[in-house]
């Protein structure tokens, strides 16, 4: 869990790695990783999120949410 940023993936809206997986590919700071058929959030990397929104641009609306804790 990050101190400053919280990244969440909605399993209902995420298309999964087989169909999409764009978040894992585009994130420049490795917030996401492959976990079976779904992407997962690397909790120890959450605070590295640079708020570039590349994942939000690539993924289905609402599949990923990024929340700032400040």
């Amino acid at each position: 869990m990050g101190y400053f940023v919280e990244v969440e993936i909605s399993p209902d809206k995420c298309a999964g790695l087989q169909e999409c997986g764009a978040c894992v590919k585009v994130c420049p700071v490795n917030i996401f990783e492959k976990r079976g058929g779904m992407p997962g959030v690397v909790a120890t990397n959450e605070d590295e999120c640079i708020l570039c929104d590349l994942c939000l641009d690539e993924c289905a609306p609402g599949a990923i949410t990024i929340g700032k804790k400040y």
Partner: protein, 395 residues
């Protein structure tokens, strides 16, 4: 990392740049090298000749005496563990060949003069016509024809021009292959028999390139190359390890001092300015450091924890010039996280946070949440240093 003369000359030899015949001698070791010879103290500093670090010996007894003298003569705080013994060479002329980076042009620059064996910077000021230079591409390197063009501008012609052009081209290869920041042959001697001989060589390897220069990295770790100088402390070594945890940015070039104010400062000249200003205002820095190049939050976190782990350090000052490629919010995250993970309170532990620039609104919002005193660019580095010094002296 500055190489010793004999180490540099070994590299030159591999590039077919000749040096004088010679050998190195350790203390207590006898040399079979026949006199007359030049005896040269192997210490990582310039100005050896003026400081008594280079002597001539005409006979074997004189050589023995002078070797002992050199081993006992510290040069600018360094004591040699090896002396280079070389043949004396009858010279017709001396030249200067140097390559370094022109940081304004962002290119390597080759510098040549027909007057070798002198301080080239002083010569360039006093007699600018005597020094010629040329930028070259690190991708296309410095081909012989281009090197000849440079040397000819200094008035060299004929066979000597061809010889010097070839040597200069090979020196550029050394410079680029070894990730050097300086490759200098001064003087390059023209012997009476027409050979070009590198009489002295100064190679500086970029410390940041050591991970891709394993031989040089190994050499840097070797103890006993010379004595004296300042040894790297465990605290500084740990900071270097933190810096190497992640390739992004710099956060770990640290020099330890005996004070109580931890410093996270950045930006070449700005970090020196901040450090001096803290001292000027009566602050006692626990360390000098450099951060920049947008280090990861993780690296800044670890650096903060490391600085706060030093006994007596209760507060840290974070001072940088206006940043463009480093993000204020990411530095702020690292500092706050480091303090929290050290069990501290950011509001109490940060003496001042003065990092204006990219993403500062985001950074300042974050700092506000944790009650950290921050300031923007309207507050000078000097004023930030004064506040930091005042915060620690009031402890």
């Amino acid at each position: 990392m500055r190489l010793l003369e004999y180490e540099s000359k070994q590299i030159l030899k591999g590039y077919n740049i000749a040096g004088p015949r010679g050998e190195t001698v350790s203390r207590g070791q006898e040399t079979s090298f026949p006199p007359p010879a030049m005896l040269k103290s192997q210490v990582p500093t310039g100005g050896r000749g003026k400081a008594g670090g280079i002597l001539a010996a005409q006979s074997a007894p004189e050589m023995g005496e002078r070797l002992e003298l050199l081993f006992d003569t510290p040069i600018h705080g360094f004591t040699p563990t090896r002396i280079l013994v070389e043949e004396q060479i009858e010279l017709r002329q001396e030249f200067y060949l140097g390559i370094t980076y022109d940081t304004a042009a962002k290119l390597p620059v080759a510098v040549f003069s027909q007057q070798g064996g002198v301080d080239v910077e002083a010569l360039a000021k006093q007699q600018p016509g005597q020094v010629v230079d040329m930028h070259f591409s690190p991708l296309r390197r410095l081909p012989s024809f281009q090197a000849r063009e440079l040397v000819s501008r200094a008035g060299v012609t004929g066979k000597l021009l061809i010889q010097l052009g070839a040597v200069f081209s090979r020196l550029a290869d050394v410079f680029l292959d070894y990730d050097a920041t300086l490759a200098e042959i001064n003087p390059m001697g023209l012997a009476a028999d027409g050979r070009l001989i590198a009489l002295d060589c100064h190679l500086e390897i970029d410390d940041d390139a050591l991970p891709r220069q394993p031989e040089m990295a190994q050499l840097a770790k070797e103890k006993g190359r010379f004595a004296g100088g300042r040894a790297v402390s465990d605290f500084e070594r740990r900071a270097q390890e933190i810096d190497s945890l992640d390739h992004r940015g710099v956060a770990g070039r640290v020099i330890e001092f005996p004070g109580n104010l931890g410093l996270i400062i950045g930006g070449g000249g700005a970090s020196l300015t901040a450090f001096d200003a803290v001292r000027q205002h009566g602050g006692q820095p626990a360390n000098y450091c450099e951060i920049g190049g947008n280090p990861s939050v993780f690296k800044v976190t670890e650096l903060t924890k490391h600085i706060l782990s030093k006994p007596g350090v209760k507060k840290i000052a974070v001072i940088m010039n206006v940043v463009s490629n480093t993000r204020v919010d990411l530095v702020a995250r690292g500092v706050i996280k480091g303090i929290l993970e050290s069990g501290g309170d950011p509001a109490q532990s940060v003496a001042v946070f003065r990092v204006p620039g990219a993403w500062e609104e985001e950074g300042f919002r974050l700092l506000s949440k944790y009650g950290v005193p921050y300031c923007d660019r309207t507050v000078s580095i000097d004023e930030a240093a004064r506040r930091a010094a005042a915060a620690t002296t009031a402890q």
